[in-house]
Symmetry: C2
């Protein structure tokens, strides 16, 4: 019997260790169909093992799912930071500009991450209530720091005065929704087919431009 701690024993693993294959197949299945739509038999089949093997390695569908969603939640956290972190010596506006680009590129590499995470949290909220308070504290501290920086930049006349949470939401909305909606709009915008890269490059510039215009001090006509 495998250990219950979630970590497979690493000694004497001689015959095929199918854990990576199962995890990879599980990621594909869960990401595309969600927890409810995913089938452990499909995952096992895609991984090239019997479904008893899947239960041998992970006991239950839920435990296998936790291994996947855990990584995805971490990635989600990273993506938020990506949009706002950076060298604090650099001008605020410049940091935000590069932050938006980095966040966009991250989304491009994980295009169904936000949809997946949001969905799972909303359809099974009870699983995520434990994390809430710690996340709240981290975000609260981060926004306070950033708000002070933005206030200072506004004081110097570099930017507009605004609520940092609105700005962060604007950035994440423009970037994340691009990828959330892409599979839907790609066929109906039509000429996008096979031009994913070109379209995304264009939208990346568009999102940066939109936020920069929002943030830069408006000329008093």
């Amino acid at each position: 019997m495998p250990s219950d701690t979630g970590e497979r024993p690493s000694v004497r693993r001689v015959t095929g260790n199918k854990e990576p294959e199962i995890l990879a197949a599980a990621e594909r299945e869960f990401m595309s169909k969600g927890f409810d739509g995913a089938r452990t038999t499909s995952i096992a089949e895609a991984a090239g093992v019997t479904h008893a093997m899947l239960h041998y390695y992970f006991r239950t569908k839920e435990q296998l799912f936790y291994r996947i969603i855990d990584r995805k939640l971490r990635l989600m956290g990273e993506s938020f930071l990506m949009a706002v972190e950076g060298n604090p010596q650099q001008p605020f506006l410049h940091r935000i500009e590069t932050g938006i680009g980095r966040h966009f590129d991250f989304m491009a590499e994980n295009p169904d991450l936000p949809r997946f995470v949001i969905n799972e949290i909303l359809s099974h909220p009870e699983r995520y209530t434990v994390m809430q308070e710690s996340v709240r504290r981290i975000v609260s501290a981060l926004t306070q720091t950033l708000q002070r920086e933005l206030d200072a930049a506004a004081e110097r006349g570099e930017t507009e005065r605004m609520d940092i949470r609105m700005l962060m939401l604007d950035i994440i909305s423009l970037n994340a929704f691009t990828f959330i909606s892409y599979p839907i709009i790609e066929p109906i915008f039509g000429d996008l087919t096979g031009e994913r890269e070109r379209f995304l490059k264009m939208k990346r510039a568009e999102n940066i431009e939109t936020i920069m215009r929002r943030l830069r001090r408006a000329q008093t006509t």
Copy 2:
């Protein structure tokens, strides 16, 4: 036996007609859990009927689902138009401004519409391939008209020259993602609890401001 045409016979409906109750319960269940997570037994229970009744009225889970998703797809279509339609006599900028507000208000009344529709299309694409071509044609015609109007406004120096599809995506992203993400950010932004109205009013103004700044002609400093 009920007719197969999807329309219940309307004569001699004397004993309780439970169709509306089932539809209402189905809408709640499908919207919150998606097709895969929804259970016909839960729907029947919530509607106060036996699950045999549900099958008597709708035969299959899929047919019941189609009744729900059909209305939702229509709503989704409406919401797109909402952002761009308006009296063509009015100045382009002004029409867009009121359009954004109307679109936002529509999203506020249907907060889980975009998430639901996007999810269902992505997790069961085969169900929606039939509509694709007609939708593509409608959108294509609409964007061509709007692009010409925007070009004209840019020619007159009222707006920046830009791709209308980018603009539409910006508007929809800012508005829709506000509601897609709201249930997640509400507890972690913390002080939002019980202040939904205040927050939404603020974000509504923010989205309009963001787009107007994107669209208005930048001063040549």
